[in-house]
């Protein structure tokens, strides 16, 4: 019941590898790490979700917030490596239409 965030940086490209669960308890931690990255113009933020076992609307909310921030600050946000489960809640809520989601086989997108 926790979330691990592993951050790698090459120039202005930041890749966040998430492992664990994103819910009301762990979401603030994700926000704290991800949001500042989207606030700098030109940053490319790639979030790898292949290690996410559980996510609910609190997690979706964090990504919506980060997307808004990236639009406002001219950075970009890209999600990749979604498992079928995680993809499903993005689809149900219609967020697949507004988010930049890289399709690919679970966990093999690298």
């Amino acid at each position: 019941m926790n979330l691990q965030i592993n951050q790698e940086q090459i120039n202005e490209t930041y890749e966040l590898n998430l492992t664990g669960e994103v819910d009301a308890y762990t979401a603030p931690k994700l926000k704290e790490v991800m949001l500042p990255l989207t606030e700098k113009e030109g940053n490319i933020v790639i979030v790898n979700l292949s290690g996410i076992e559980y996510m609910d609307s609190t997690g979706l909310g964090i990504f919506v917030g980060a997307l808004k921030s990236s639009k406002a600050n001219n950075s970009s946000l890209k999600l990749r490596g979604m498992t079928e489960r995680v993809k499903r809640i993005f689809e149900i809520t219609g967020l697949t239409e507004v988010m930049d989601i890289e399709s690919g086989v679970k966990g093999e997108a690298l």
Binding site: M1, E21, Y54, S57, T58, V64, L67, R85, G94
Partner: protein, 161 residues
């Protein structure tokens, strides 16, 4: 059909720390009942959403955090989960009107919250919300026995009294 059911109840502080504990407990019960993997995941999300709503909204920041009560009725053919708080109630009608996916909305129109109740409604078979004294969310998921191998060690219904 037998109407007897087993009843399990939990009461946890309305803090984010306990949402996962509730989710895991309900997941264990659903697993015991023989729900399929995907259905268990749906139930986990729905319960977490309901409890998270209480954590976020039911008690104002100034007053001491209250409790959230989670009741789970296990029937032969379904699981009924009730999430209750004693915090301030909200206007269910006005919220229900705003429920829905983000279809056609621009990024500016999206807001960070508000998807929780929509997910509950979508993932569960039946959802009832009342908000007279605090908020009660009652949600039901049916067990589709025909499609699922019955667990040998399934919980037997409580003997009727």
């Amino acid at each position: 059909m037998r109407t007897a059911s087993d009843y399990i109840e939990m009461k946890v502080p309305a803090k984010p720390d306990y949402v996962g504990v509730v989710r895991l407990t309900i997941s264990g019960l659903a697993n015991r009942m023989g729900f399929a993997f995907d259905e268990i995941e749906d139930i986990k999300i729905a319960v977490s959403e309901a409890v998270t709503n209480v954590v976020n909204h039911a008690y104002s920041d100034t007053e001491e955090k209250g409790q959230v009560r989670i009741g789970c009725n296990i029937f032969d053919d379904r699981m009924e989960i009730t999430v209750v708080d004693q915090g301030k109630s909200f206007d269910v009608e006005s919220i229900s009107k705003n429920l829905g996916p983000v279809d056609g909305k621009s990024v500016d129109q999206l807001h960070e919250g508000g998807l929780g109740l929509f997910l509950i409604d979508t993932l569960m078979d039946k959802v009832e919300i009342s908000s007279e004294a605090g908020v009660v969310v009652m949600m039901t998921k049916y067990l589709h026995r025909d499609e699922v191998e019955e667990h040998v060690d399934r919980i037997s219904p409580a003997p009727s009294q």
